[in-house]
């Protein structure tokens, strides 16, 4: 009984941490973007204000049960993937479920949310939402290829599919996987650009083109939950990359530093590029990123 | 001893001549008497066959002249089986064609039944005879009545078909006579058993030449590939039941003759391979030609040719399993193709062209006939659990036992072609819209009964093949055992 309570407390704590960090990173993204554009930009806590404002909206509308449940689906996906990804190495506060799932489970639970959101978006009947969803799903077929290639390369090199084991490998050898498996890292980082859906891959929301895409009919509390889920999800992705390629983190400070450095990659890349068309985005991922993924697999097979 | 094999020739011939006389007394007797005769003969042949299976073949010596000098009839399990089959089919054809066309006048009906009796007589005679010249005679009887039946409708196309048949048939007679002449000049005998014993005395050149003439002559009747030009036209233009008679009776007799000649008379092993090759060519060309046909009966005719090719292939294996398979196919083909001709005739009853397109949508109006046609089609393709499957399996097993893999593949590939064209027709019958000007014609009761009997046999053999296979096994071992045949014939008293 105690362990269950402990688990739940740990889960809640992890969730809060992920929420806060994700929100702040989102705010920092806006700040950095503004600074690069020679603006002052909003404060770094602007996303909290936005979230609070959305939560404090008095009224809300929905077009049916699926739209009503849609944000919950996304939240399930975000929180479940958060539960599976180890946040800190050897820290008893954040163990959660990470011994009950592995990388492939993670891959699948990560698409649970987008699909749930897609259902909600579909029920609104807004053509923009549906177009956004089709773009998002199409984009997913693009970036999943290099991403899976990178993961498969890691798995076959170390004969495990568990994230914890991969972390242990790095701790024991003392080398980060981004140095011992550089091609896998490159492929994974390129895939991450698509995963974050920042420019040039912001085809899903596509401001000024699709009227924010799938979420265009969501406001108030629905958007609040979606925004929170997005923040948590961003944190999960970054933590996962840190765990897989950068040796995990022993304490929160290191974790924040590593994740932030990683986070700068999509943020800065987004500032330098303009939006691709969907087919170009998909093909981009099937080009160089997949090539690096292939190299990673070759490396894993031939240079164990 | 229930009766004598000579009755099989005497009674129908007598009946054929008596029909016109009886017709003068009571016109309906023209239609009824042949049926009675055939029924009697069928009973006779069944009882004889039972006897033969138990006690060995019956050799009937005509007019006291013993073989090898006299003419003799051989009622062995093999020939007996075929005779029974032919008579059975003959009876069915009679029952079916009884009142096939309404309001037929006396004279055409007379001619029709007379010629049908002659046809059956000739075919039965061909099967029973043990003498090659006698065989020639019976072939002539068969052919002439077949010419007549082909041109029964007295139309331009029938006449043309009949003429083609006559043209090739006369060639056949010529070559058969040539072959007989060669053998007689070389060996001085016409009795098959005697020839078989003396064959080694013949010079190889003559031997080959006579075999070639035999194959050519009999091949024309047996629808072997380059010689079968008459068949599609004749089948297509003759009345529907006659097509069934051709496929079920005439061709069977001719194939029997070919096989008897090759297996018993000659001792040329190359002939077996030749049979396989010619069988494959016949089958492939016929089946591929069938797929492009537009007329129903032509298609069935090509299908018949193809099946005969398969029979020849099976005979060509030269093994007991091969003969068994061949006989099984002959049996199945006789039953199924008759059913197809019978039901097909009613499906396209009112069509002048007998195009495949004309049977479209008949299933709504003639449900049972269509069902039987579909059953026949499924059976002849060889789908289990219908009769055709077992014979196809037998052929393939026989081929596999001889390690002829390519032939198996070819047979199966051709089966796919067969399947396509039969399915096209069946689909048409069931799912297409009826042609405006096609009036469906309800089958007569007797025709319906005939078709149902055939359908029941197909199902029976399909579900319980043992019902015929025992007989077939015995018949096939009879054909294999050449020395026993010779001994039986020559020692006949």
């Amino acid at each position: 009984m105690e362990s269950v309570l402990y688990n739940i407390l740990g889960a809640v704590a992890t969730f809060l941490l992920a929420f806060v960090v994700g929100m702040i990173y989102g705010g920092l993204n806006r700040k950095i973007t503004a600074r690069v554009q020679n603006r002052k930009g909003p404060p770094f806590y602007q996303n909290f204000i936005d979230a609070m404002k959305l939560a404090s909206k008095r009224s809300a509308i929905h077009h049916g049960i699926m739209q009503h449940f849609g944000p919950a689906f996304i939240m399930v996906s975000s929180v479940m993937s958060l539960m599976v990804v180890p946040v800190l190495t050897h820290n008893q506060w954040f163990p959660n479920l990470n011994f009950h799932g592995d990388l492939i489970f993670l891959l699948y639970i990560m698409v649970f949310g987008p699909l749930g959101m897609a259902l909600g978006a579909g029920q609104t009947g807004n053509p923009n939402s549906a177009i956004g969803v089709t773009r998002g799903l199409s984009l997913m077929t693009g970036f999943e290829i290099p991403w899976v290639m990178a993961l498969v390369a890691l798995m076959i090199q170390y004969h495990t599919t568990s994230i914890v084991d991969l972390m242990n490998v790095q701790i024991q050898s003392g080398t980060w996987l981004m140095f011992s498996s550089p091609f896998a890292f490159i492929a994974a980082v390129m895939a991450m650009l698509g995963m974050f859906r920042y420019s040039p891959f912001d085809i899903v929301g596509a401001p000024a083109e699709l009227a924010s895409g799938p979420i265009s009919e969501n406001g108030g509390k629905y958007l609040f939950v979606m925004m929170s889920a997005g923040s948590v999800f961003a944190f999960v992705k970054l933590t996962l990359y840190v765990d897989l390629f950068m040796g995990g983190a022993d304490n929160l400070v290191i974790l924040l530093v590593k994740t932030f450095v990683l986070y700068l990659i999509p943020v800065l890349y987004s500032l330098t590029t303009v939006r691709y068309r969907t087919e170009h985005a998909i093909r981009w991922f099937w080009g160089w990123p997949s090539f690096f993924g292939l190299l990673a697999i070759l490396q894993a097979v031939f240079f164990k | 001893m229930v009766g004598s094999p000579v009755l099989f020739i005497a009674i129908p011939l007598l009946a054929a001549f008596l029909i016109p006389l009886l017709g003068m007394i009571w016109k309906e007797s023209v239609r009824i008497v042949p049926g009675l005769v055939l029924a009697y003969l069928l009973v006779l042949s069944v009882s004889l066959l039972q006897h033969v299976l138990a006690f060995g073949p019956i050799i009937e010596i005509i007019a006291g002249w013993k073989p090898p000098i006299g003419i003799n009839l051989v009622f062995s399990p093999f020939s007996g089986f075929l005779v029974t089959l032919m008579l059975f089919l003959g009876l069915l054809v009679w029952a079916y064609s009884y009142r096939f066309k309404r309001n037929v006048e006396y004279e055409p009906a007379l001619k029709y039944f007379l010629m049908l009796m002659m046809l059956i007589t000739g075919s039965v005679g061909m099967t029973l005879t043990g003498d090659i010249f006698n065989m020639f005679v019976f072939i002539e009887i068969t052919s002439i009545s077949a010419y007549g039946l082909t041109s029964y409708y007295k139309e331009r196309n029938s006449a043309e078909a009949s003429f083609k048949y006559i043209l090739l048939g006369s060639l056949a007679s010529t070559f058969l006579l040539l072959a007989i002449m060669i053998i007689y000049s070389q060996l001085g005998t016409l009795n098959m058993a005697d020839i078989a014993t003396k064959m080694h005395l013949m010079k190889p050149g003559y031997k080959v030449a006579s075999l070639i003439f035999f194959i050519t002559a009999l091949g024309i009747e047996a629808e072997i590939f380059p010689l079968n030009g008459w068949a599609p036209d004749a089948y297509a233009e003759a009345p529907g039941p006659v097509g069934a008679a051709f496929a079920g009776i005439v061709v069977k007799a001719a194939v029997y003759a070919v096989i008897r000649v090759i297996y018993t008379l000659f001792d040329l092993p190359g002939a077996y391979q030749f049979l396989i090759v010619i069988g494959i060519i016949t089958m492939v060309i016929a089946e591929t030609a069938a797929i492009r046909q537009e007329k129903l009966k032509r298609m069935l005719a090509y299908s018949s040719i193809g099946q005969m090719g398969l029979v020849l292939i099976a005979f060509g294996f030269g093994t007991k399993e091969g003969i068994y398979a061949a006989l099984f196919i002959m049996f199945n083909h006789a039953i199924i193709k008759s059913l197809l001709f019978f039901s097909g005739s009613y499906l396209a009853y009112n069509s002048t062209e007998k195009n495949i397109a004309d049977v479209s949508g008949m299933a709504k109006h003639l449900p049972l006939t269509s069902l039987l046609f579909a059953l026949g089609a499924f059976a002849i393709i060889g789908l289990p659990p219908f009769a055709g499957f077992w014979s196809k399996l037998a052929v393939l097993t026989a081929a596999a036992d001889s390690s002829l893999w390519l032939i198996i593949a070819l047979v199966l590939a051709v089966s796919v072609v067969e399947l396509v064209y039969y399915l096209r027709v069946v689909n048409r019958v069931y799912f297409f819209k009826k042609e405006e000007d096609m009036e469906p014609q309800k089958p007569t009761v007797n025709a319906m009964i005939v078709m149902l009997i055939l359908g029941a046999i197909i199902l029976l053999v399909g579900f319980y093949p043992d019902s015929v296979t025992g007989l077939l096994h015995k018949a096939s071992s009879d054909l294999m055992d050449k020395s026993q045949y010779i001994q039986h014939v020559l020692s006949a008293r």
């Binding site: 939560a55 009224s59 509308i61 929905h62 077009h63 049916g64 699926m66 919950a72 479940m80 011994f99 799932g101 492939i104 489970f105 699948y108 698409v111 649970f112 897609a118 579909g122 009947g125 053509p127 549906a130 969803v133 077929t141 999943e144 290829i145 498969v152 076959i156 004969h159 495990t160 599919t161 009919e217 509390k221 969907t278 087919e279 093909r283 993924g293 697999i297 097979v301 | 043309e160 043209l167 080959v208 030009g229 008459w230 599609p232 190359g270 030749f274 060309i285 030609a289 797929i291 492009r292 499924f378 289990p384 399996l393 393939l396 036992d401 199966l412 590939a413 796919v416 399947l419 069931y430």
Partner: protein, 616 residues
Amino acid sequence: MNPVLNIFILFLGGAILTYFAGRINKVLQSLLFLASVLVPAFLFYTQLSIGQSATFSVDGITLNWSLNYFGWLFSLIVLGLGAMAAIYAVSYMKGKQRLGTFYFNFILSIMSMTGILLSQDLISFFIFWEIMTWSSYLMTIYNGNKVQSIGIKYFVFSAIGAYAMLMAIVMVHSITGSFLIKDLINAYPTMQLGMQIWIPVLLLTGFAVKAAMMPLHVWAPGAYSNSPMAYTSVFSGALSKMGVYGMTIVFVTLINKIPQGIWFREVIAWMGGITAVIGTLWAIKQDDAKKLLAYSSVAQLGYIITGIAIGTELALLAGLFLAVMHALFKGTLFMVVGAVEKQTGTTNFTEVSGLIRKMPWTFFAALLSIIALAGIPPLGGFVGKWMLYESLITSNHYLLVIVIFFSSTAAFLYCYKFLFGFFLGQEEKEWSHVKEAPAAMVVPMVILSLLMFVLGTFPGILLSPINNGLQALGYTDSYKNLWETSVILNGWGNHVVLQPILYYIIAIFLFFVVFLTLKGYKNTRYVTTKDISSSGEIPKEDENLTFSENFYQPFFRAVEPVMRRQIDKFYKNLGEGLEALFEFMRRIYTGNGQTYAIYVIAFVVIMLLFGNYLLK
């Protein structure tokens, strides 16, 4: 009397009685139909025990029907799905024409599939296989649409497969002298190499046609979409599994026994992978739900084939688990399409939309099946997919796993299209009259979809029968003691514990659902789908706001080079070429008497010239 025979007699007698009962009373007919599917199925599980057999001899061939664990596993698919589909069918077919034909063929299909599972010799296997083929063919053309194209295509491919199988059967017979499968298995390792290769190749061709493997899959979309949906759920769910059943036997008992088997395994596994990709891509392109599901079936069968071809313990388990799951969710989905078709009269995504509020239970079933189809936890599809990936990775198929992964990611596209096309999107006034399908149709769907849910969390329920089945085939299973009801694990010792995951998912989901519902409950209101932010424009009644044309256009711009080549066209050209050749053959018969006479003379002359060589 032998219970094995009893079951068949019941099936057959039931089929015939049902056919003729239609003349008397439609209700009686339906009841008879249900009875003749459900009673034998009931007897199957109550009266039949493993190893019970019936032996008899036909035409000198020994036929042996008996039940083993492997057959029992597949009987779950056949009889379970069959029973559900039968209940569904009674309601679905209400008021249709030619019910007798439908019921007759339905029962015969179930019977033949049961027969296949019970057959321990090749001949009865083949006979039941062919009965299955033609009964399903008659169902394919039941509607009378596209009979000549789709029906004949299906039958020709089936026949090619069946005849390949028949060739293998007679080969076996010529070598072993027996038709028993047991004898084949025993004799196989000692055969010549040529036979060792040809027999599996031919058998696999036969099974691959039914399992819709890549170059032989072209019949599937048409046949699946053209049958009545009540049957298609069996057709795609159970009938295609017979191919999988045969393949498994061939792989486990034959190919694994010879060293050359590795090539078979690799080739077939890759073919399965390519099948999955091609099936998925074409499924995404379809605008008709039936076609979409048909192509999706092809793709899913690709996974199953891959799993079975890889042939490690985990892969086989994955393949068979997916096979059962596929039967469940594809059976349900075809039922859903049938329900939609019955209620709206069309299955085209561009015509129907926004049915979710009209048909909530159907949507529920569709949603669960789609989640299972997409392989998303916590439903059963995930378990199969997980095991498949793990087995591919642990057995060194690195590129194949990428191919499979791509195909299953792309599968999300058509999954979404299916749900969106029917249930989501604008609620058009045209469909405002639509009501939920009758209970007899909804209940089987919901039962099947709940089964998927259970199997997703407790896969052990199904994995232990699969294990038993594989052992019955002579497979020694190293996982035997490691399986628990809700843990799945791979060869490297990694595992996923499903039970806590499910609880977490439910807890989180419920928490946020409650939050979303209670927060501002009074001020949350439902608005119609016409009330969308369309730049202030007021949508008119006749205005089409549903986005369903060219749904994945950008995706197809990206994959356009792959889609350009169609194997269907190749077959079409082949068929046309053959027809032209046949036309040439036909012209040999000129219809001219002189020509025929010349043929005869030429024949004689040639024979006389070469007869010495030919005949000696």
